[in-house]
Symmetry: C2
Subunit: 448 residues, 2 copies
């Protein structure tokens, strides 16, 4: 039996709320602070890509008994629906029969998670700004504004779940020996909507993640329960086809008409929302250490913000919480060991999913038009279908597995080295679907 502690969580987002549920169920007394108003009482700003919950997320919800309740908020997507410039839409199944990722609206999910945390006993304090944290004392400082006197509130432990631009991390960052980086992509994103049909049904196949890949930009659409789709346009911020170049209604109209002809007519009031909705940026944030003694720990985006091209941001944050819970089961009241083990075990996996997410972006931006790359992918898929036990695709390892991300990255690098050799084979372009190639891959697998 652990001693109950007074714990502050800064940030009432998805990861902070899940942590509150876990800690309350362990008997701790949890206060969750957020500088924003209660999301349950406000219109959601609509500045986030729809979430794709996959196995890692589900496992973290299941351990605390809320997976079924959350599942009812989601729509399973068992495939990508690819919309090429020319020709018909085609489908790529994500995994085996029954394997799917779940589209969930961030706003809907966040509201539900806060409800569940409150039911578990957590206290939420909204519109309350934390300006400073005294790390050795686990004391937070609240105030109306940065340059007015602040009130201290002392806790036993403080968690920073306050996102990519974390104030808690910021305090740790100004200590010596704190490694930190923030790196922005030269691409940004903007949300748009495809409304439901008048009868409430979806205008596109609702069990697909829809993609309109266009080289260095793309549109995606994820289904919502109410029949709508949340669309996200990813595009360079500057240059030929860029947010900067789409500067008036006419350029937007022409651009969508040309590149997204099949869906252009379905998007809700494109000319209005394209300019009303913000253009958001994409950042990778890395840091270390994640904890301060047994007092303060960072979780989720505040420790490891990633770009969204693997749909793993929330899943990775939820895994942080499940790992903390596992370590609390093992180490009881020894919070120093819990925090130390947490950051040591988790950091390599956070770095791995950050790298994989960036690679996926680069692949989508620059490689999809490269015939060699496409041939590689075809050979991998062909071999994987013949030998599903010997060649598990990277996407499957990341999405439909809970094995560490670092293992998935490592295995991917091994597979890439094998494919480098395969691509050197004589007449590989003409004869890739042959026993000769199959035998070569099996041989390389056995020797690597």
């Amino acid at each position: 039996m652990q001693h109950p502690k007074r714990i502050a969580i800064i940030g009432s987002g998805l990861v902070g709320s899940l942590l509150a549920i876990y800690l309350e169920k362990r008997g701790h007394q949890v206060d969750v602070y957020d500088r924003r108003p209660d999301i349950r009482q406000t219109e959601f700003s609509g500045r986030s890509i729809n979430l794709a919950m996959s196995d890692r997320g589900w496992k973290s919800l299941r351990s605390v008994g809320i997976d079924e309740e959350i599942k009812s908020l989601g729509i399973p997507m068992d495939k990508r629906a690819i919309h090429p410039m020319e020709g018909d839409v085609y489908f790529q199944y994500y995994g085996k029969e029954g394997e799917a990722i779940y589209s969930i609206s961030r706003g809907v999910l966040n509201k539900k998670m806060i409800d569940l945390a409150e039911e578990a006993g957590a206290k939420f304090i909204f519109e309350s700004k934390v300006w400073d944290v005294a790390l050795p004392e686990a004391t937070i400082f609240l105030g109306e504004s940065e340059n007015e006197p602040w009130s201290p509130v002392a806790y036993d432990h403080v968690f920073g779940a306050d996102g990519a631009f974390s104030r808690v991390r910021h305090k740790m960052q100004r200590r010596s020996l704190f490694n930190y980086s923030q790196e922005f992509l030269e691409a940004g994103y903007k949300e748009l909507t495809i409304p439901a049909n008048p009868d409430g049904t979806h205008k596109l196949d609702k069990n697909s993640l829809h993609i309109w890949p266009r080289g260095n930009f793309m549109l995606i659409a994820l289904p919502n329960l109410d029949g709508s789709f949340t669309c996200t346009l990813f595009m360079p911020l500057q240059g030929d086809n860029s947010f900067e170049a789409l500067h008036d209604e006419k350029t937007v109209e022409n651009f969508f008409g040309h590149y997204f002809e099949d869906v252009r007519g379905e998007i809700d009031n494109l000319k209005k929302y394209f300019f009303q909705n913000p253009t958001s940026t994409l950042v990778t944030i890395k840091c270390f250490p994640w904890t301060y003694w047994d007092k303060v720990a960072l979780v989720g985006d505040s420790a490891h913000a990633i770009v969204p091209f693997y749909g793993q941001g929330m899943n990775a944050g939820f895994e942080d919480i499940a790992l903390l819970n596992d370590l609390m089961n093992v180490h009881g009241d020894d919070w120093e060991t819990i925090f130390k083990q947490y950051e040591q075990q988790r950091k390599p996996n956070a770095d791995a999913i950050a790298e994989l997410s960036l690679r996926n972006f680069r692949e989508m931006s620059s490689k999809t038009a490269d015939p060699d790359f496409l041939l590689r992918k075809k050979i991998e898929n062909w071999f994987s279908e013949k030998h599903p036990d010997k060649w598990i695709p990277l996407y499957t390892r990341v999405t439909f597995s809970t094995k560490p991300y670092a293992e998935a990255l490592h295995e991917d690098e091994r597979q890439q080295r094998i494919m480098d050799e395969v691509m050197k084979m004589e007449n590989i372009k003409g004869e890739w679907q042959t026993e000769r190639v199959e035998a070569r891959i099996l041989e390389l697998l056995a020797s690597s």
Copy 2:
């Protein structure tokens, strides 16, 4: 003729003071703020490696007419004096006859630079803390402490010369699309002193930079005008031979007696100062952009802090200022273009010297005991002496040249590729000083 502007420089260190001199000589009205007291009225804290001024630094001082005055504060060092564990000290000349770097105490130099800036007309405001900067308005906010009301002061332009942990950069860092990283070495450093002889002469050769290389740690000593040497011990923070391991007088005494036997007796009150002086850390800081519109610019360490193993930190900061001055000559009142060109031209060079400085650290820590590495260096030196026009050593390119750092890095990589080939030659160990090897290098140079 440019329009005179009201300019704030945050930070009265070496780079801030030099910038103040340049700007005053251009007719601007400059206020320099520093949160610390006037260094001219305080005991210097002694927390900095002695500086080594080289060609880039001198050129930047010469353009504004203060190089001769500063030279009188320095001691030329034309060679390294290497003190091995066993055997006698030996010398490595840095360059050609007459080429030298200059040892200057940071404190002495900084006091002089502030004097010169005041003479030029700059106003210094010490013990004045800048808490915030409104970037679009070039307005700084001053106050006694962070959480009390601040007073705004508006300028035409603001420069952040406030060092590695710059407050001005910190403000820029929280903007979107600001890339930033801080990465600490696992080694730190501590200063010690070798006092002058009673007659004021130096206890060691005064025209040398003394080095006691010991694998993953080393001691260095640089001469001061008063007959003393400033010593710096670089060592891992943790592990076998580390600051952590030297935890009491006895371990310190044994360590110095064993590893630095020839100099141990000369160090001033080792047992006292080893524990009284702080152990400092070493960080590389990179960021981009360095400027905000035509309003705010970062210079020196605030834009690009590097580890000290090439002795180029101050030299690189001074080059920033000389480049800004050159751009002001070309672009007149067009500060937007001046700032844009400044960051675009300077960033690749700052990245290059950061990388070179880290490589020098890694070389010193891990490669000095590698026979292959030592052979490489011997071959390079031998060839360079035979063909000084064809093989300019990296150290010379960085130290005794004002060509861009990025070119020096690029050329180094070319030389390394050539040496990779040379090291593959048959019996290279036994026959490196031969015409065969010379001919091969000439051939590789011609074809690369």
